[in-house]
């Protein structure tokens, strides 16, 4: 039986780690970007950002002041026994969000969209957001993502229905155009991790794009060649646009392009894009059936990627 207090602790650790650090794959992507950046000012900006992230971990402080929308992904073992069930799991995670807000690991950013009311603890209708995936076993894995306001609000997240007549070129053009619009003046905090969802209904495509942006290992590839080719082409294309860090010029505009897909209706292809901030923050903690908590190097939401 996985106890409620363990869920709260694991969620709190995921928030604390996620907010004050970046995962090893994103760090490696940063190091590759610094090595490959030819614009001196952009290279300095990337180095300073990575230096700040290192200090954030040492001093236990948020690596960006915008800690974004608090979103949680839970991989639940099919045989996992949870004290109080899934409603208790969600309440435990909400408690962790309250505590993390109070201790300054997440900013009290969530507010009422119409009245502007600020609850001060990031808790409100449908926030935090929960997504589940059921897997074999008895364990629970909780991933916290901080989905930044810039990357979500300035056009880095949107979708379009492409006709079969327009095919792959139509899909790739949409991603290039959407990114080029959104990265102007650094609005979405590039270099971005760009998630692309192809197919399914609108919400399926949007969720795949967000999960590809927030959960996929930076530097991983889709196992199917046809998708991997799109990832490679878009990665090269976006890095050829010349935005650089925060849009002030440079040859690194994307840290990664991750594409996921679903089968679609013969009527058309929904394509969704979701960009994640360069300070791409997530952390995953596993709770085993014996009650021990372990930090994982990645979310591995899509198999081994």
């Amino acid at each position: 039986m996985i106890k409620k207090h363990l869920i709260e602790e694991a969620a709190f650790q995921a928030i604390r780690n996620g907010s004050t650090n970046i995962s090893p794959d994103v760090r490696a992507a940063f190091e590759r970007a610094i090595a490959g950046e030819t614009n001196a000012g952009a290279r300095e900006g990337l180095s300073k950002t990575l230096d700040s992230i290192r200090l954030a971990e040492i001093h236990d402080r948020p690596s960006c002041a915008d800690t974004g929308w608090p979103i949680f992904y839970v991989k639940a073992g099919n045989e996992a026994e949870i004290e109080g069930g899934f409603m208790a799991l969600e309440e435990s995670i909400r408690n962790a969000v309250r505590r993390a807000t109070k201790e300054g690991y997440i900013r009290a950013t969530m507010k009422d969209p119409l009245t502007g009311f600020d609850p001060g603890d990031n808790i409100g209708p449908n926030i935090p957001d929960f997504t589940y995936k059921f897997v074999p076993g008895t364990e629970l894995e909780i991933t916290y993502c901080a989905k930044g306001g810039g990357s979500e609000c300035f056009g880095g997240t949107r979708q379009k229905v492409v006709a079969f007549a327009d095919g792959t070129k139509g899909i790739e053009k949409f991603v290039i155009d959407a990114f080029a619009d959104a990265a102007r003046a650094g609005a979405i905090c590039p270099p971005s991790i760009i998630g692309v969802g192809i197919g399914g209904t609108a919400n399926v495509a949007a969720n795949l794009a967000k999960e590809a942006a927030c959960l996929r290992q930076a530097g991983s590839h889709h196992p199917e060649q046809k998708i991997r080719d799109i990832e490679d082409r878009l990665y090269r294309g976006i890095n050829g646009l010349g935005f650089g860090i925060l849009g002030a010029g440079g040859n690194t505009s994307a840290l990664a392009v991750n594409v996921e897909y679903a089968y679609t209706h013969i009527a058309g292809i929904v394509v969704a894009i979701s960009c994640n901030c360069m300070v791409a923050r997530r952390a995953t903690f596993k709770i085993k059936a014996d009650g021990s908590i372990e930090k994982l190097p990645g979310a591995y939401w899509f198999g081994d990627r």
Binding site: S52, A108, E172, G237, G247, A248
Partner: protein
């Protein structure tokens, strides 16, 4: 591209020497705002509880501040996107005696006009490095904390060589990001070419007046 170390309050000559692409470090007093404050002051006609000095520095920002027994502690700081405050840009410059606005992204035409008229510039960060910045920021106080909350209340900071920032709008009507836009437009043509997307590609229109992503 020159480097300048400026101390607020700023004078006309401090600002008039700056051109897009220059690097700036900031010292002296400044205050922060986001849209809630601007709406409260300019739309709802409340009075700002302090008088900004001539030549003030404004930072668009929502810091993470925690109250400790010893006082306020700045946990994290990152300038936020200025473009979303364009509605109040010109009014802020004029009413709050601003000579420099710091924020991510840039601002629009109306603010650019006010910047030329009043001699004011906009500067933007080139990194996301809160931990390199927070030691350069001392919290001097806060106003309207109850009304605005800790993120949107105007914080009064004392800066010590905070930077580097790049001048993206100077007081001569130039915008650094407009220059980069021109390069991006040219680069995009090359990218289309590499991807095999014809320049005259048009989407099959499936509904209404879509194609919002058309160049």
């Amino acid at each position: 591209m020159a480097e300048y170390h400026l101390t607020a309050p700023l004078k006309d000559e401090d600002v008039m020497q700056l051109h897009i692409g220059d690097t700036v470090y900031l010292s002296g007093p400044c205050f922060t705002c986001r849209s809630k404050l601007q709406r409260y002051i300019f739309d709802e006609k409340h009075t700002l509880p302090f008088t900004p000095a001539d030549g003030s520095v404004l930072i668009h920002n929502g810091p993470i501040v925690v109250k400790r027994d010893t006082g306020w502690e700045l946990m994290s700081f990152m300038p936020t996107s200025s473009i979303r405050f364009e509605k109040w840009g010109a009014a802020s410059i004029k009413e709050w005696n601003l000579k420099l606005v710091c924020g991510k992204t840039t601002m629009g035409e109306q603010t650019a006009k006010a910047m030329q008229e009043m001699h004011c510039v906009h500067v933007s960060p080139r990194s996301v490095s809160p931990l390199l910045w927070i030691d350069s920021i001392e919290i001097e106080g806060v106003d309207l904390f109850e009304e605005m909350g800790s993120i949107e209340a105007p914080w009064h900071f004392k800066l010590n060589e905070l930077g580097p920032f790049v001048v993206d709008m100077d007081c001569y009507g130039n915008n650094l990001f407009d220059e980069i836009d021109k390069e991006v437009r040219e680069n995009k043509k090359k990218v289309y070419n590499t991807l095999g997307i014809p320049e005259d590609f048009r989407y099959t229109r499936l509904y209404g007046n879509e194609n919002t992503c058309e160049p």
